[in-house]
């Protein structure tokens, strides 16, 4: 009887602790939603208001009416979507070759991939912009897409996973006369789903939220993504309307949450069902 009670206490304590941890992490998220529903006056209080007196749903309309919101949204979707698709098409064969082949120059070439992963955009953006302008692409969405099609991080991660897939499975497939693309499609991809979901999620989040790169690569509203549209709500001088800006940010975050819900399930579940044991 006594041990039973003790156990319940422990379980309850675990729940409380978990709830506390949860609060620490979703705090800014809740605050963002709260601010997006406040009045201007409420956003001006210090320390901040937590619960708005009456939710201001109109803030969302105001954020959306501030610019060509649909264009921004469409650009964000197209840019992020194309990056992910192209990345996958390029990344899978490359990771496969780096994981399962021996060839002269492999170490050097893989070293270059790693180097690429290390160099931040803040260091390379000027030469890249000059090149894009040279090619006459500044008025298109391409400068936001093609610099990212070689995802060094993805190749690296995927190679790690591919290396764990036993050689025998591939050999068996080869004996069955399967060609390389069939091996990738039927063996490598299904067996590395969690890695692929991880990469997709990571890629989606970082490109969907990216502010710096689109800003330095675009000169006109027609090719700008949502993040820049929201940055435009900020006041250069004077008092910013944080309730409107946060409403914009809430709109920005919704698609990511949807993708997360989808991907996280795969990242965790896929492991359990996949062939890696």
């Amino acid at each position: 009887m006594k041990t039973f009670e003790l156990k319940t206490v422990w379980i309850l304590l675990g729940y409380v602790l978990k709830a506390a941890v949860l609060m620490i992490f979703i705090f800014p998220f809740l605050w963002m939603i709260s601010t997006s529903l406040q009045t201007f006056r409420e956003t001006m209080t210090f320390p901040p208001t937590w619960i708005p007196a009456s939710p201001q749903w109109g803030n969302f309309m105001e954020a959306m009416n501030a610019g060509p919101f649909l264009t921004y949204f469409k650009n964000s979707v197209v840019v992020t979507g194309s990056i992910i698709v192209l990345q996958f098409l390029i990344m899978i064969p490359a990771a496969y070759a780096f994981a399962k082949y021996k060839f002269p120059g492999k170490t050097l070439l893989f070293g270059m991939i790693l180097l690429a992963f290390m160099i931040p955009g803040q260091v390379t953006f000027i030469p890249v912009y000059l090149m894009m302008a040279d090619w006459g692409l500044v008025k298109t969405l391409l400068p936001q897409i093609i610099p990212f099609i070689s995802n060094a991080f993805g190749i690296f991660l995927l190679r790690q996973y591919f290396m764990q897939i036993p050689e025998e499975i591939i050999e068996a497939a080869r004996l069955d006369n399967a060609n390389e693309f069939k091996i990738m499609r039927k063996i490598m991809i299904p067996m590395s789903k969690p890695a692929l979901a991880t990469i997709a999620l990571f890629s989606f989040v970082s490109h969907w939220n990216d502010y710096f790169w689109p800003l330095v690569m675009t000169d006109s509203a027609a090719v700008r993504p949502l993040t820049l549209g929201i940055a435009m709500l900020r006041e250069t001088e004077g008092i910013s309307n944080w309730h409107i800006i946060m409403a914009g940010n809430v709109i920005l975050v919704v698609p990511i949450l949807l993708v997360y819900l989808f991907c996280s399930k795969h990242i965790v579940k896929a492991f359990v069902y996949s062939g890696i044991k």
Partner: protein
């Protein structure tokens, strides 16, 4: 027959060709350009006003206190973020490993800082860390701890930034580790249970080696990611106070408008440092990782 052999020899190159092309164009070429710029006192807008200065920019870098300051800050930041994030995500992952609805809710919650834009995050933390009216100092006072100046003093600003970065990164790495943990076959644990091994021993002898590829991976990407930190610094402190949080990339970016040659030279130095670091990592650690 010969044709087939040639194809087999070429095959890996064909498979990596598109990826390499992208990297050549968008990384190697800009790097070459940077090396070129680093030898000039360069005027981007009017090339005729540029002056070839040879190694001057590099000698200047090595002679400037603020560069070493930035290098030191970056090192401390990287070490702090990597160690803390690894430990905490491992801890939380083990804790939330058991499958339950509530655990997945908590996991999703921990992940949210990763998806919310850095601007919203920084605004909240700026308020939390405000020395006089912020919530953190209020809580500190309640539990009898001395209050801190957080971002406002050069003594505590860097650690404040580390806290925010760790807090933001944990969710993502927890997710990876949880996935790795759940991929370990239960039969291995059953065998251990039969041997009556202690929980700690099981963790140390079985769990850790089994997830070591993922841990190694996280270590590498976090080191590199932290070394090139930019956003967090820009929105939280702008490199201050008194250069206490200026990291290398922020330092490089800060010179982009006023002295692009110097900025490029610092970029070249940054690349050399990261390259060296990764090389060391691979040499030291890759052999210790357990692959199944």
């Amino acid at each position: 027959m010969d044709k087939k052999r040639i194809w087999e020899g070429l095959r890996p190159y064909v498979l990596i060709a598109p990826a390499m092309a992208g990297i050549m164009l968008f990384v190697m070429y800009p790097v070459g350009y940077l090396i070129y710029l680093s030898l000039f006192k360069y005027n981007l807008m009017n090339k005729d006003k540029s002056k070839f200065v040879g190694w001057d920019n590099f000698t200047q870098i090595l002679g400037r206190g603020d560069f070493y300051r930035a290098l030191w800050n970056t090192t401390i930041y990287t070490a702090g973020v990597v160690v803390l994030t690894m430990l905490l995500s491992l801890l939380i992952a083990v804790w939330l490993n058991k499958k339950s609805r509530f655990n997945s809710v908590v996991q999703a919650g921990i992940f949210t800082p990763h998806v919310v834009s850095i601007v919203s995050i920084s605004l909240v933390w700026l308020w939390l860390m405000e020395p006089n009216q912020g919530l953190l100092n209020y809580v500190f006072k309640l539990v009898g701890l001395p209050s801190s100046a957080w971002l406002q003093s050069s003594k505590t600003a860097l650690i404040s930034i580390i806290i925010v970065s760790v807090w933001q990164a944990i969710g993502y790495y927890t997710l990876i580790i949880v996935a790795a943990l759940q991929s370990i076959s239960p039969s291995i644990y059953e065998a251990a249970a039969l041997d009556n091994a202690s929980k700690f021993k099981v963790f140390y002898k079985i769990t850790l080696p089994m997830i070591s590829p993922q841990l190694f991976f996280i270590l590498i990407i976090m080191t590199i990611g932290s070394f090139k930190v930019f956003d967090t610094v820009q929105v939280m402190t702008g490199g201050g106070p008194n250069n206490a949080t200026t990291t290398l990339v922020y330092y490089i970016y800060g010179f982009r408008t006023t002295n692009i040659g110097y900025s490029a030279a610092t970029g070249v130095v940054l690349m050399a440092i990261i390259g060296l670091l990764t090389f060391i990592y691979f040499r030291l650690l890759s052999k210790k990782v357990h692959y199944q």
